[in-house]
């Protein structure tokens, strides 16, 4: 049963859900774009502020664990949602269709993500994952009158449903073998299944179930070879929706995968970890290679995110005290850089007609039109490329350190090779920003308060990228403390 302490522990989730309901009622009562956005931002800020209170509550609600990973995930989810909500009004202002529903969908997705990072039971995992994914279909297809957006939405819907089926089947197999749905109980169940196993080798049913779950979650993470939807959905979806997909959705799913892997007992884990290592290796090389010659920035970032998730998987593949901390640091730096890059795309794309300005030629000479936007984009790309003095380098440093500490030389080699390949396309985009000749007419952007809020958010993100790169100590200390609590 839920106690009062549990409710306090779940306060962020409750606040976000309540805000979603409020926003829905507000839209039904009277449409007001700025008001809705302000309400959303307010709710998210409130949820963020309630986090210290919630984390001190020592709550243990059913189906969930409110530990360090959950707190880490909640902060990241809420912070990225806040940034998205702050940057969206400027983007949506030019959209001629209904604007307010976007915030409703965003809040629903955030609720799902908050549940997902804390879930320690298969049922909770499934419900939260669906709560996270359903609004995303709508968000990706938000500009449903354009062909690409609709196509992207449907593609994501269909493939996502298939992945869900895999996930459910995997759960069923695990349940059939162990009789448990609680993550923690898996350990015991799996160990006993292992010891009573027929020949002492891995149990084929458990093996199958675990692989199916990895496939299901790997789809959401767009890990190779389950990445096929990524470029199209990234390109077709409206920029803020893609951003939700790239940050909130991925980081929440990643954290739940991390939690699942931690529950797998050591005796069973070797082959599973090898499988994850293999996926990591394929993703980081494949993602970077496919990104090489993309001309569409959103598509390019889609492939690059495949590579980044590949790097991240190393944190799952390698067992050890450092792995949770590494996941946290890398997710943190990845999310900040992705927010920066997509934030600039959203800012540049703000225009009443047609699709997002995501072709590379839209960005030609951006530095000479709006130097600050180009500077933020440069910083984000440098950070994604893992160049020192930006946040991304700290993340890459952690990943390589983890690989080296565990002597996984071929994974480390993959990271080095992947980074070298990745540089090529990051640099290509970066130099485009500074080329003198404007390739296409600059789009006139809407002026106003919404623009200034968006710009302010971008500045904060840029400063954060630099600050985390130059003085990462507070972030590292905080995440290390959380990792110890996990």
């Amino acid at each position: 049963m839920l106690t009062l302490t549990d409710l306090i522990g779940l306060l962020p989730l409750v606040i976000v859900a309540a805000t979603a309901i409020l926003v829905m009622l507000g839209i039904a009562w009277q449409r007001h774009h700025n008001g809705t956005a302000a309400l959303t931002v307010g709710g998210l800020v409130l949820a963020l502020m309630s986090l210290p209170l919630a984390s001190n509550a020592a709550a243990s609600p059913p189906l969930m664990t409110l530990d360090g990973i959950a707190l880490m995930g909640s902060v990241l989810v809420l912070a990225s949602a806040l940034a998205i909500a702050a940057m969206s009004p400027h983007y949506l202002a030019s959209y001629t269709g209904p604007q307010e529903e976007f915030y409703l969908l965003l809040l629903c997705a955030v609720t799902g993500a908050l549940g997902l990072v804390a879930s320690s039971h298969m049922a909770m995992l499934f419900i939260s994952l669906e709560l996270l994914s359903m609004p995303l279909y709508g968000m990706v297809a938000y500009r449903f009158r354009t062909e690409r957006s609709l196509e992207a939405g449907i593609k994501y819907l269909v493939l996502s449903a298939a992945a869900t089926a895999f996930l459910l089947f995997g759960m069923a197999l695990l349940y059939a073998r162990t009789g448990q749905l609680e993550f923690g109980a898996f350990t015991a169940g799996l160990t006993s299944a292992f010891t009573s196993g027929l020949s002492g080798g891995p149990d084929p049913w458990i093996l199958g179930g675990a692989v199916l779950i990895v496939v299901g979650l790997g789809f959401k993470l767009s890990i190779m070879p389950f990445h096929l939807w990524t470029p199209d959905v990234y390109q077709g979806g409206i920029a803020p929706a893609t951003l939700v997909l790239a940050t909130i959705s991925k980081l929440a799913v990643f954290l739940v995968l991390l939690r699942l892997m931690m529950a797998v007992p050591a005796v069973e884990s070797e082959w599973l970890r090898n499988l994850v290592s293999l996926l990591a290796f394929i993703s980081m090389l494949g993602g970077n290679l496919l990104a090489l010659f993309q001309l569409n920035l959103k598509r390019l970032l889609g492939y690059s995110s495949i590579a980044h998730l590949g790097y991240l998987l190393i944190a799952i593949a390698v067992e050890g005290p450092l792995s949770v901390e590494t996941s946290g640091v890398y997710l943190f730096t990845y999310v900040v850089a992705t927010l920066g890059a997509f934030g600039v795309i959203m800012h540049v794309s703000c225009s009443p007609h047609g699709e997002d300005a995501a072709e590379l030629h839209h960005y030609r000479g951006l530095f000479w039109r709006s130097p600050w936007l180009a500077a933020v984009m440069t910083l984000s790309l440098l950070s994604l490329a893992g160049i020192p003095l930006t946040a991304g380098f700290i993340g890459k440093f952690y990943i390589i350190a983890l690989g080296v500490a565990d002597s996984r030389w071929w994974l480390v080699g993959g990271v080095v090779a992947g980074s070298a390949i990745g540089l090529f396309y990051y640099l290509r985009v970066m130099v485009t920003l500074y080329l003198p000749e404007p390739g296409s007419q600059p789009r006139d952007s809407l002026e106003g308060k919404q623009k200034r809020v968006g710009e302010l958010t971008l500045m904060v993100i840029a400063v954060l990228i630099l600050l985390l790169g130059i003085y990462p100590v507070p972030m590292i200390d905080w995440l290390a403390a959380l990792a110890r609590a996990a």
Binding site: L382, I387, P388, L389, F393, F397, I400, A401, V404, A405, V412, V415, V416, A417, S419, A420, L423, F424, L427, R428, V431, Y434, L435, P436, Y471, P472, V473, I476, D477, A480
Partner: protein
């Protein structure tokens, strides 16, 4: 604290330059010049006041030292220290930085502020590389200078042929150095973790890692990780692919920085990190390194003879000169290592001089293709004379600094590797050939067009005279330079002979 300021002055100067463009087109130039001169003067003051005699047993080997914790989680510190070698190189960076600003005075007319931002940022990174004693910090500076260099080549470079060749050259430069840098990061991390599992202390400190006890097999790979990173930058021949293009497409200031200072960071890295951290493995690796050096000497010289583009020619001669440096660094002789440092300084002067001259030629004849030059001796006053001097310096004419360096390298290496020295001496002949070819094709021969061209103005005159004077000064009186660096080189050379002794002993025991 003064060490930190040596890094921060160019850094803040760079930001100031960027913003100064708002008030005045010329302001960034003056600010950048002032900043670099400040770095130069600071290091000269330190030089005059410094005591470079070999330290006693209990004394610190560093002239100045400054450390504060940075990321305690991994034992990373901001640890800066300066000895004779770093001091010389920092002063060199200040000098060449100032020259780079001066030589682009008329060449760069677009985006002046952003240009100087990049230029000073490179200098900040380079000074950091020469001062950092924490391996993490060293790596950070090592990589930090790449991005501005990339922009320098990609945005202000020349496109030799149609298409985006300057961007391609810049990208190639970046990927080569960044990828090899990551290998070094892996090696650094492996070293740190080995040390951690031995001692239980996580630290990136140079002094602590010097004593790290790395298993033999692994140590060789780690040494290779460091060596490859430095070899790409030096450059050593199979890894030199980025250099000719980067030089040919870079603006003059970029070439001056690249040849004058950035290449030296690699030699510095070998001398400071690769050899002292892994003395036995370096000893074992020395024959390979020397062979690579020999290949570099001949490869660079032979290819230089066939170039049409004057900057490419000079770029290939750099490869050849750095071959001598590589041989010297792995010879294990103090004399040769000292000679390598003299070559580094001399090459900085002479290659900077030649690059600046080719920039000035370009401003006058609007081409870098030597087939379209010829007979310029009669058409331009004074400049050909200067070219003659720097060409002579580059081929190692006595009385120039280059002669002292090459002589010391060959003399010092002879006892340990006579065959290498005999072959390397052949490279000197090739040096004479490509140098004279350059003179012949640019300044003598048939004139391709008529008309008198402008002579050097006061700024150009001053730059040339300064470099000429310095080359002669070091050539005629190298002792002050040698005194400054000897206390740094001695222990490294001793390390080499110690480990050789140990290896022999080990064999005897077996």
């Amino acid at each position: 604290m003064i060490l930190l300021w040596l890094i921060l002055i160019p850094f803040f100067g760079s930001l100031l330059c960027w913003q100064a463009e708002r008030w005045n087109q010329q302001a960034p130039r003056w600010i950048a010049l002032g900043t670099m001169l400040l770095v130069l003067v600071t290091s000269l003051v330190l030089w005059v006041g410094g005591d470079f005699s070999p330290p006693g047993v209990s004394e610190s080997p560093w002239l100045l030292e400054w450390r504060v914790p940075w990321i305690p989680r991994f034992g990373i510190e901001i640890h800066l220290a300066m000895d004779g070698l770093s001091l010389i190189l920092v002063a060199l960076a200040g000098l060449l930085g100032a020259l780079a600003v001066l030589c682009s005075w008329n060449e760069i007319v677009q985006r002046v502020g952003f240009f100087h931002l990049n230029l000073l940022f490179i200098m900040s990174g380079v000074v950091g590389v020469f001062l950092a004693l924490d391996l993490f910090l060293f790596f950070l500076f090592w990589e930090a200078m790449l991005v501005p260099m990339y922009f320098l080549i990609a945005l202000w470079g020349h496109s030799g042929s149609p298409g985006q060749t300057r961007i391609r050259a810049a990208t190639r430069f970046f990927i080569y150095t960044q990828a090899s840098g990551l290998l070094m990061l892996v090696a650094i991390l492996a070293l740190v973790f080995v040390n951690y599992s031995n001692t239980g202390v996580m630290t990136f400190s140079y002094n602590a890692l010097l004593d790290a006890d790395v298993p033999d097999g692994l140590a060789f790979w780690l040494m290779l990780g460091f060596f490859i990173a430095f070899a790409v930058k030096l450059p050593v021949v199979p890894l030199h692919g980025w250099l000719p293009d980067a030089h040919a497409q870079a603006p003059t200031a970029g070439s001056v920085d690249l040849a004058g200072i950035l290449l030296k960071t690699a030699a510095y890295g070998i001398l400071r990190f690769a050899i002292p951290l892994f003395p036995e493995q370096s000893q074992a690796f020395a024959p390979v390194a020397m062979t690579l050096g020999l290949v570099g000497i001949f490869y660079g010289a032979i290819l230089a003879c066939g170039q049409q583009d004057i900057k490419r020619l000079i770029a290939y001669t750099s490869i050849s000169h750095m071959g001598f440096v590589l041989i010297a660094l792995y010879s294990g002789s103090e004399l040769a290592m000292q000679g390598a440092i003299v070559i580094m300084v001399a090459h900085a002067f002479s290659s900077a001089g030649l690059f600046i001259l080719s920039g000035q030629l370009y401003e006058r004849v609007k081409t870098r293709d030597m087939r379209q030059m010829g007979g310029l001796w009669g058409r331009i006053p004074t400049l050909p004379g200067f070219t003659m001097f720097f060409v002579a310096a580059s081929l190692g004419m006595p009385a120039t600094a280059n002669f002292i360096g090459e002589f010391m390298v060959l003399f010092g290496t002879f006892p340990s590797a006579p065959v290498v020295v005999v072959i390397a001496s052949g490279g000197l002949v090739l040096a004479a050939i490509y140098s004279l070819l350059l003179m012949q094709r640019v300044h003598f021969g048939r004139e391709t067009s008529q008309g008198q061209l402008a002579g050097p103005d006061a700024r150009e005159y001053a730059m040339m005279l300064l470099l000429l004077g310095l080359t002669l000064a070091v050539g005629l009186n190298p002792q002050p330079l040698l005194d400054t660096t000897s206390s740094m080189v001695q222990p490294v050379a001793a390390l080499f002979s110690d480990s050789a002794g140990l290896a022999v002993q080990a064999e005897e025991v077996d």
